[in-house]
Symmetry: C2
Subunit: 349 residues, 2 copies
DNA sequence: ATCGATTGCGCAAACCATTGCAGGAAGCTT
DNA sequence: AAGCTTCCTGCAATGGTTTGCGCAATCGAT
């Protein structure tokens, strides 16, 4: 195979009759080196396609310019959007991203962390699994002097910057919107009680109801465990078969909302006129299904960008005790599924 | 701040009064080393949490155990599924995956390749962009002695193993299915002419029509350039407004099919009874929309697995001239959107 | 002519693990 | 007792780059 032989600083030095250190410094335009020398060395390097041996550089500097990124699930619209933002941002700053997934299983997450640490990433971006209630595996990073930035699904058990979405406010706005559309009995298909985001959204839901003096009922709140379409379908059925059924449903995420929509369609219950439905996350599907699903956009790409920028900043400054919380605002995206009373052109934003 | 000081072989050697080489060999249970020594060294290493400096090891071995992975788009159901398979497989074999995206732009792809090469991945997994008509950036890899494995979207301009889906057969089966359901005038929203997969699918479409003596028409074939929902919508409109409109549409991908479904719904044209629709790729959405979209499953996860396994194999054997083509069979997934005549329970698979 | 500053460059150590080779020690055979 | 294994261990080089420090030469100022 035509393996191009790579030349090293040593080769340059030998050929040009200078020392290795001079060659090294010349390539970096070090002020100690004469312009002529710099020019010669650079020309020679160029001509012979000199590329520094990155492995040697990494070794010398104890840096890899690789960042670890762990998400619960890779095949997931929101997370892949975040990853996309992270990768693009990292690239801009000369970093690569090493991706791994926890499948929402703590042991997988721990292993992923270990692998990342072993392969010497310079820092870690993580959205924790549902099972992650303590954070020894994350503390390891900090102890090794490698910063961690959490995003979206976070834990307070380690001190690190956190980039999150204002789940409370997003939920509040979603429910407020339902109220403004004239819905009176608003149900919530919520997520697990151990997961902070779920609790925040549930809190937003409740606060909005209270602030607007709306009817509430424990029966209108259902706990989704798996957060999938099927749960949406089943809980919707359950909600509508009880007495005093709701006339609108706020779902923890779009996927659940799709299940709801599916059930309603099967039962020929009109959306949005008989029942309003709103999701969360603004998946690609939300704009594609009909009726279009109103949802709350979480700005995943931006979240990836910001978290990555923050991490790079920490690495550069060797900061390990930063605890900044960056909260992104959500965007209410109004589509047909909640266009109940108001017939005027839909507002977005 | 509590940076644990990492200990090195040197420390072990000093503390135990042996040489560095003995320490190194003891940890590897080298036969030259006395059992007692091995036990002592291991105990000491364990106690002080010795971890070999991976950077030094990489440097010494010129290996990183990192694999590069480049896809056109990250936020994409099929590709994220492939990535998921690749990551899980890599992890099992002690490799990490470095992910990057080309956005279907050649220059981005080239840059991504360069970055990957510079950061010294041990090999590359790539699905090329629509714009990639030559492959100098890929040849670079081979020249550096780093194997490349292509998957899904491939080019014949470099010699490398390729993991692909049998697009021809998948398309053939999809169209055959439409024919069997009694559709008579089958249209095809195809992809770009420069893209191999598109051509294969179009070929499968045509062959199926020919083999079953079906009516054909140039007017029933439309070229999608962006491969999005909008194109599906517009071309569907165009198809149905011409004379001799089709009664079934085979779409290059599910996203296009969703556009088609949307138009049909707006126009209140019944699917599958007036028009049958089938997609390709079996996106998550396909099972969620209603009517459920029939599609062709490409086994993305498996593709990721296989491509990664192949790459690791090449790396281990230092093979650079392998040109094996691994072709995965597709799965026809039948849902409501094509259930025209036949009312019996739907078969899947 | 001397001193001091400045400029340009090289020596060598350091980073850490790996490994070929040499050699010492102990135990065995003749 | 000399010679021969067998076992165990250490020396030292290797990989490529970076960097602190020191040295030499040059130049200007006194």
């Amino acid at each position: 195979m035509t393996e191009k032989k790579k030349i090293t600083l040593k080769d340059i030095a030998r050929e040009l009759g200078i020392s290795i250190s001079t060659a090294s410094r010349a390539l970096k335009e070090h002020p100690d080196i004469a312009d002529d020398t710099i020019k010669t060395v650079k020309a020679f390097a160029e001509k012979h396609h000199y590329v520094p041996n990155i492995l040697a550089v990494n070794f010398r500097k104890s840096r890899t310019y690789n960042l670890g990124l762990i998400v619960p699930e890779l095949v997931h619209h929101f997370f892949s959007t975040v990853i996309s933002g992270a990768i693009d941002t990292a690239k801009k700053h000369g970093y690569n991203i090493l991706v791994s997934q926890s499948n929402d299983i703590l042991s997988d997450e721990t292993v992923a962390c270990r692998t990342m640490l072993a392969s010497s990433v310079d820092g870690l971006l993580i959205s924790i699994s549902n099972e992650t209630l303590e954070a020894a595996h994350l503390t390891n990073f900090i102890e090794e002097g490698k910063p961690v930035v959490q995003f979206d699904k976070i834990t307070d058990h380690i001190q690190s910057p956190k980039v999150i979405v204002d789940d409370f406010e997003g939920a509040y706005q979603a429910v407020k919107h339902l109220i403004e559309q004239g819905y009176k009995k608003i149900a919530h298909l919520r997520g697990r009680r151990e997961v902070k985001n779920s609790n925040e959204r549930a809190r937003g839901y409740q606060q909005a109801l209270i602030d607007h003096n709306m009817e509430t009922s424990e029966n209108w709140i259902k706990d989704c465990m798996a957060i999938n379409e099927e749960e949406g379908y089943n809980f919707c059925k359950e909600l509508l078969s009880g007495d005093n059924p709701p006339d609108a449903i706020f779902c923890i995420t779009d996927l659940v909302a799709f299940g709801v929509l599916k059930y309603l369609k099967e039962e020929k219950i009109a959306v949005p006129h008989q029942i309003g439905v709103i999701g969360f996350s603004n998946w690609k599907l939300a704009e594609i299904v009909s009726p279009g699903l109103s949802s709350v956009d979480q700005h995943g790409y931006e979240m990836g960008e910001i978290a990555t920028l923050k991490l790079i900043e920490l690495i550069k400054n060797n900061e390990l005790d930063n605890q900044e919380v960056i909260e992104l605002k959500t965007n209410l995206i109004i589509r047909e599924s909640t266009a109940n009373k108001i017939e005027k052109p839909l507002t977005i934003g």
